[in-house]
């Protein structure tokens, strides 16, 4: 059998610079899934885009060929004219991109954007195209295809937009689908469902796929063949099963070691101590009012947080886990005093066990200033949380200046010390942030948060923008600093596997409520709540023997009124959080 697509000795470079992709070769057979795995800068995205020549203008394909072998004939895609290539794009080979939020035009209806493929390649009439598109929408899981057809992208959730993108890529029944990190921007349960959908569609249509990803877990769940790339070269390639079971190349092994996993054989963990709490969140709710579009309709109330009770013992890490919109970030903001809770909620902070606690929910100006010295934050995106116009030194000493601590020389010494602490070279103080990689920037953010010698650090998804190997290093750093300086962390994340490694206690949130709470080991050993089960089941693990259990995901990830009766929320009737065993609480009736 001849391969559907074969890439041979492909090299790509930008401008006059060195090649960023060198000598890459692989084959994709009909109906097969090939995964290209690598970290940022590995050249995986450029490689997959080179197939359809959707490259930045300065990029050139320097050597090599991309041969597509379909029923219509055999072409070298690198040799086709732009016009001939247009007939291949979207027709025989289609693409799905990473960001469903931005990959659809905001000003055109979904139906129009998807039908366009058929207008272009099949010359279908508008009504004929609509019929086919509605069929595809139904197939990709839109509950109401007609409505989806009329919708604009901003009216749909991220998962639904990615389904629309899949529909767009599938509607012309291509032979090959190129998916560039198709689920990276999605919540883990949505990711599981979208991956399941792609797999199912593939089985149905016999379409082949090139899946570009950084996540070995996704690879283990999807791929038959794997290409591991690093710095523009193929490190290792071959059939998925042997490669994933016993990686031969040291780089692949390194990727495996760095990938956070949910422990395979968890045990019951002892509950956390209840005394000496550094942070105590009591009955915190937060309601936002969204103004209705017209004066005649009532405003819509959004319950971002509902009756949250959480305790953080000194020196420990409390993680809040949930999907986007679950209220985890709101909870963190309230814990930091950035927003007041609804009346009745209380947040108590004890920087020093001997002193009176600070009432974070109700601080005066001077108390707030004192509080800010003790509680700091590390942000999610290291690219936008450092001012690009300030030298590292100024960024680092700014907190000290704000609080009027120390002379200039002392501030400088402190900055030097902190840089060393996070594993950076003090020579870097004079540089600007653009000179640093993502991981280095996140180290800088941590160093900045440490400048005031705080007791509590709130980490808002500190590793979600980073590569797996860098993520591993940052988590290690956070752990080391915590143990060395007796810090306490409030850790916000959507990723249970990351949390599994760093947290002492996990609170799972959904729709503003804590649905289950326990030490991570206990949670994995004995998950009770359907949503927790779904989160655990949806987590892709780089172990080919532990595939995603889509049934469990579907049960728990749906809306709370589809949960089993014991856990269901119906209207305002919400079950209360009950203690199953010491330190393990779940929200259920009885």
């Amino acid at each position: 059998m001849r391969p559907l697509l074969s890439v041979e000795n492909l090299s790509i470079g930008f401008g006059k610079g060195d090649a960023v992709v060198r000598d890459v070769s692989f084959d994709v057979n009909p109906g097969e899934t090939l995964a290209i795995v690598g970290e940022s800068g590995s050249g995986k995205t450029v490689t997959c885009r080179a197939v359809l020549r959707i490259l930045p203008r300065t990029a050139q394909i320097r050597t090599g060929s991309v041969t597509l072998n379909t029923d219509d004939g055999v072409y070298d895609l690198t040799k086709l004219s732009e016009r001939q290539l247009r007939d291949v794009r979207g027709n025989q080979v289609s693409m799905i991109f990473q960001e469903p939020m931005r990959s659809l035009s905001p000003l055109h209806r979904i139906g129009n954007q998807v039908s366009e493929v058929l207008w272009l390649h099949r010359g279908n009439s508008e009504s004929e195209a609509k019929r086919l598109v509605l069929e595809t929408f139904d197939r990709v899981g839109f509950p109401d295809p007609e409505r989806a057809y009329r919708s604009y992208p901003f009216e749909l959730s991220g998962g639904m937009r990615q389904r629309a993108m899949i529909a767009m890529a599938m509607v012309a029944k291509p032979d090959l689908l190129i998916a560039d990190e198709p689920t990276t921007a999605l919540d883990v349960t949505t990711q599981a469902q979208v991956l399941g959908l792609i797999k199912e569609l593939q089985k149905e249509t016999g379409m082949a796929m090139i899946l570009v990803t950084h996540d070995l877990g996704v690879v283990a769940n999807m791929a038959e063949k794997v290409v591991v790339m690093h710095k523009g070269r193929v490190m290792e390639s071959g059939a998925a099963e042997p490669l994933l079971k016993s990686p031969a190349h040291p780089y692949t092994r390194q990727l495996f070691d760095a990938a956070p996993t949910i422990p395979a054989n968890p045990k019951l963990a002892p509950p956390l101590p209840e005394e000496d709490l550094i942070l105590e969140i009591k009955n915190v709710s937060k309601t936002y009012k969204m103004r209705a579009g017209s004066a005649w309709r009532p405003d819509v109330l959004i319950h971002a947080c509902r009756g949250i009770d959480l305790n953080l013992p000194r020196g420990k890490t409390l993680a809040i886990v949930g999907e986007s919109g679950s209220g985890k970030t709101t909870a963190a903001r309230i814990a930091l005093g950035a927003e007041p809770p609804d009346p009745g909620g209380e947040v108590w902070f004890r920087p020093d066990p001997a002193r009176e606690p600070i009432a974070v929910h109700n601080m005066s100006r001077s108390v707030r200033t004192a509080f800010q010295r003790e509680a700091q934050m590390v942000f999610q995106d290291p690219y936008s949380s450092l001012s690009p116009r300030m030298r590292i030194l100024d960024t680092m000493t700014e907190p000290l200046e704000v609080h009027g601590i120390g002379t200039r020389a002392e501030q400088r010494d402190r900055a030097t010390e902190m840089l060393k602490q996070v594993g950076l070279n003090p020579d870097m103080l004079k540089r600007f942030p653009h000179a640093f990689s993502g991981g280095q920037r996140q180290r800088l953010s941590i160093a900045r948060a440490m400048m005031l010698d705080p007791r509590l650090i709130v980490c808002d998804e500190p590793t979600s923008a980073l590569d797996v190997s860098v993520q591993e290093q940052i988590l290690q750093l956070l752990e080391d600093i915590r143990d060395e300086m007796n810090l306490s962390y409030l850790f916000i994340s959507h990723d249970l596997a990351v949390v599994a490694r760093i947290a002492d206690e996990v609170a799972v949130m959904r729709q503003g409520l804590v649905v289950e709470q326990a030490p991570p080991e206990t949670l994995f050993y004995n998950p009770k709540h359907p949503y927790t089960k779904a989160l655990i089941a949806a987590q892709p693990t780089p172990d080919i023997e532990r595939p995603i259990n889509l049934k469990l995901v579907a049960q728990g990830a749906g809306s709370p009124d589809s949960w089993p009766e014991a856990f269901r929320f119906s209207g305002e009737v919400i079950p209360s959080l009950i203690e199953l065993e010491p330190g393990h609480k779940v929200r259920s009736h009885v």
Partner: protein
Amino acid sequence: MSILRYTIFRFGTMLLTLWAVSALVFLIINLPPGDYLSNQIAELRASGQSAGVAKAEFLRKEYALDRALWEQYMIWIGFLPGPHGFSGLVQGNFGWSFEFDRPVRDIVGDSLWLTVLVNVAAIIFVYAVALPLGVIAAAKSRTWIDYTSAFVGYLGLATPNFLLALILYYYGRKYLNIPIGGLMDPIFEGQPLSWEKIKSISVHMIVPTIVIGTAGASAMMQRLRANMLDELGKPYVETAIAKGMSPSRMLAKYPLRVAFNPFVADIGNLLPSMVSGSVLVSVVMGLQTIGPTLLTALKTQDQFLSGFVLMFVALLTLIGTMISDILLVLLDPRIRYEGRES
């Protein structure tokens, strides 16, 4: 919110804004000490012409200039009865020009709609030139096409308008027999509209339209180019290419639609800047637009004339912004569905 409801709502706010503007206009005109008549009275007294003084005093009474400022304002608008009953802007009486000694309505006359005509033509010229050039410059960025259009654009920005006017008149006359000055042949002035008059106006409008529009067009072209370049980097453009669209169709359907919003929003701002910016050009080219009249009226503190002209410009601006707001709502679903629950 339905488009119709929004239009009605927007019209209501426009009327309210116009009212607020009228108060401001009146206040600002009356800020400098004295008024046209008291200046004249002082002048006449100084030269000993007491007959004139009596007439001026009479006019002061006649136009209620002896009353309190807020009363004058209400009479001018037509909310309070003046010496001759309710007779203000609302009732369609635009007042009396002291400088020209004629009703304001007679002085502005034709120049009102000629102003609108010239400026609308200039705006159409701006869009007609800036749109294609801006899009091409962005699509072919960093090529000779881009550099040439940028060069021509900067030339347009940098050339003084009146100089451009003189050059165009000279060569237009020499090669194309285009008439010089004015907006119509003098024989049609004050005549009712006829086919011949329309023809005369169209020919006369060519040069003024180009002159007034050039600077705006080159500025808009540069901004459209920058906006388009931003949009061209967005992922949805890649999606469109991956579908197999041709570049020209893709450009027009996706990035241009998104990049176009600020230009629709600009319609409202273009109008007043063209009216006030074209005063000098109008003087040089002898255009019967309202700009030169406004200048004279402001210099001589001819309060009813300048008040009326300013109100007229304000009205144009407000209509312009209303049009662009309604167009934006039609063009951009994100604005249309704001606040609608999904």
